[in-house]
């Protein structure tokens, strides 16, 4: 059997992968670099959520920026309100936009616990409502992708438009790092890095367990043929909504972490390019593998940071061209190369078998 499909080997790979990531702060003393690596972890979480929803659920989601951005704005509002007190109850930008009292939208974020809860609950709830509306109407495939894209662009224009509440295109820049009780999370510290990593590990393990569960199997069956699963008596739209909502929740967590690390949020988080690049990470890394997607995010983002400076003008050209090649020739992404390489090794040692090509037993993407 192909080592790639052995569950034990997969868990071992996760263990090694995350152990290496956890050891990074011991070797890196440059706190700015560490902060940057932690934001890659956030991007990894986003790629994970895309992989869950697209790779396993077959729901191509071009609007993952919505839960991410909503979570990020919620967190930014919470952090901003931590810097306000009774003598100075309003963020400075509101005064510039001639508001004379704190808008009701902002009031709940004065309490840190409520604020963080809202940052997670609101995007999740949005995904649940939007998803159930769409999936119950049996909008699926490319149409759903287009609708998420349209929804994303609607949120983008809305956030830009309500400038007195969101500071429009400038975004929100909380002046101080997040305080949880008396504990300050300094974004430029190993502690913050480990916090993000712990959340990424938790999300990955939860996602992996989910895909191994009965629920995950039904979701994957829906990806392969929704009609058949419907005829078998499953509530397809319920499963689709659930996986879409879980992915949205992960993205909201990622949004919170992102603001925690960068202390900044702007409508750019709702930009279509950003949401599409999440899809590119998962696509290049390998959408049908959780770790492949995370690695895809790491590779593309670090390449963008380091090569992007050298090839400032041609970077998008290279990325676009590379993505076309991956879609055309490697539908399973770069991790698919590993799969076929391991498959070749095991095929060499295990001649004969039961006569069914192992390739047909495992799902092929894009069909």
């Amino acid at each position: 059997m192909n080592l790639y499909h052995k569950v034990g080997a997969q868990w071992l790979a996760y263990l090694v992968f995350f152990a290496v990531l956890a050891a990074v702060p011991l070797a890196v003393s440059d706190m700015f670099l560490l902060n940057q690596l932690a934001t890659y972890g956030v991007f990894g979480m986003l790629a994970l959520s895309i992989s869950l929803c697209w790779g396993f659920g077959g729901i191509l989601n071009l609007g993952q920026g919505i839960p991410f951005g909503l979570g990020a704005y919620g967190m930014a509002m919470t952090m901003q309100m931590q810097s306000q007190d009774a003598s100075n109850p309003m963020p400075p930008f509101m005064l510039n936009n001639s508001l004379d009292h704190l808008p009701g939208l902002w009031v709940p974020f004065g309490n840190t616990t409520v604020g963080i809860l809202l940052s997670l609950v609101v995007p999740t709830l949005f995904c649940a409502i939007f998803g159930s509306l769409m999936f119950r109407a049996r909008v699926s495939g490319p149409f759903f992708a287009i609708m998420t894209l349209a929804m994303l662009s609607a949120w983008y224009t809305l956030i830009l438009d309500i400038q007195p509440y969101t500071n429009g295109v400038n975004g929100i820049t909380p002046p101080a790092p997040l305080k949880l009780g008396d504990f300050v999370i300094d974004p430029y510290s190993s502690g913050a890095y480990w916090l993000v990593l712990a959340l990424l590990v938790a999300a990955t393990v939860a996602a992996k367990l989910m895909t191994r569960s009965r629920f995950g199997l039904v979701v994957q069956a829906i990806r392969n043929d929704a009609e058949r699963v419907r005829f078998l008596g499953y509530n397809v739209s319920g499963y689709e909504t659930a996986i879409y909502t879980v992915a949205g929740f992960f993205a909201a967590v990622a949004g919170c972490c992102w603001v925690m690390m960068t202390q900044y949020v702007s409508p750019a988080q709702f930009d279509t390019t950003f949401s599409l690049s999440m899809v590119i990470w998962a696509g290049i890394g390998g959408r049908m593998s959780l770790m492949g997607s995370i690695l895809g995010a790491f590779i593309i983002q670090s390449a963008q940071s380091y090569l992007g400076d050298t090839f400032l003008n041609t970077w998008l050209l290279v990325l676009g061209g590379f993505f076309i090649l991956v879609v055309r020739f490697l539908p399973k992404g770069l991790i698919g190369l590993l799969e076929s390489a391991l498959g070749r090794i095991s095929a060499g040692s295990n001649k004969g078998g039961n006569g069914v090509s192992a390739r047909r037993l495992y799902p092929q993407p894009g069909e």
Binding site: F130, A145, L276, N313, F323, P365
Partner: protein, 300 residues
């Protein structure tokens, strides 16, 4: 906003102007969506590079005008031909391998859109370009209190002419019969001797060409930029989704969404109107997920 202020600011003349502007917006969205409708309707390909085809059309007009001195009226059909050729190359080189994987066509064409956008930016730079038009196009017409620019009228007329031409092409020619046969059932059409591969190729080129034509007009309405396509592509997609992928559906959907946008914008503002419109479309799809008019196609 309060209801009181709403009634005091309501003026019939301004409202009628908004309605007429709505027709103009509808014609712009429709002409942007026509190419997309054809490509989606015939081949089931979601062409994310459509916005960049529009942008290429604008740049072709700009180039022809500045380097060859072609008059604007000739630039429009020339853009059609140039972008249709680009579409043909793209279809032969990439899209035809992906017809069985509709979601992957979406991704691959997104890659194409990145390449085209950045390629144009490398060649022409990020600074805006302008397309010159004959002076008569830049004036405004005044009928009583109704005021509309001549060029918007031109766009409306061109859109109407193209819709009529497409209708004639699809319902009055042999090629049109073949396209509709392939749309309904590819294998069945093939067994009757229709070369579906060739039909896909030609419809893709036609759709791309229409985007180029739209682009050469949009280049006059707005400035020409490498990123100009993205402004139109979401609207164009919505028109296709609401319309259900047919020509008649797109015309109806373009008209309805453009008019609603203008009416909402009259009561609130442009961006909020767009948000309301998108939410309405989501609700609409809950009720009619297949769009306004859907072809009798088999399940893809």
């Amino acid at each position: 906003m309060a209801i009181g202020s709403f009634f005091t600011t309501f003026e019939w003349s301004a409202f009628i102007n908004a309605l007429i502007l709505g027709i103009s917006i509808a014609s712009i969205w429709l002409i942007a969506a026509l190419g997309l409708t054809i490509i989606y309707g015939a081949a089931g390909v979601i062409n994310m590079a459509h916005g960049e085809f529009i942008m290429l059309g604008a740049y072709s007009s700009y180039m022809l005008q500045n380097f060859l001195g072609l008059p604007f009226v000739l630039c429009v059909p020339a853009s059609f031909l140039i972008v249709a050729a680009v579409g043909l190359v793209l279809e032969r080189g990439l899209i035809r391998y992906l017809y069985k994987r509709p979601l992957d066509t979406l991704l691959a064409t997104f890659g194409v859109s990145l390449v085209l956008m950045q390629g144009v930016r490398l060649i022409f730079g990020s600074d805006p370009k302008y397309i010159a038009v004959p002076p008569i196009f830049t004036s405004n017409i005044q009928f009583g209190f109704v005021n509309i620019s001549v060029f918007r009228l031109v766009v409306l007329l061109v859109t109407m002419a193209i819709v009529a031409a497409l209708w004639a092409l699809f319902y009055r020619t042999r090629f049109g019969v073949q396209v509709r046969a392939v749309m309904q059932d590819k294998e069945m059409a093939a067994s009757f001797g229709v070369n579906s591969d060739r039909i896909y190729m030609l419809t893709f080129a036609l759709g791309a060409g229409l985007a180029g034509l739209a682009g050469s007009l949009f280049g006059v309405l707005n400035i020409v930029l490498p990123t100009m396509g993205t402004a139109y592509v979401v609207q164009a997609f919505l028109v296709v989704v609401v319309g259900g992928g047919t020509l008649a559906g797109s015309v109806a959907a373009g008209g309805a969404t453009g008019e609603l946008q203008s009416i909402f914008a009259y009561f609130t503002n442009d961006t909020f109107a767009r948000f309301v419109l998108f939410v309405l479309i989501v609700v609409f799809l809950r009720i009619r997920p297949q769009g306004l008019f859907t072809p009798a196609a088999k399940r893809r």
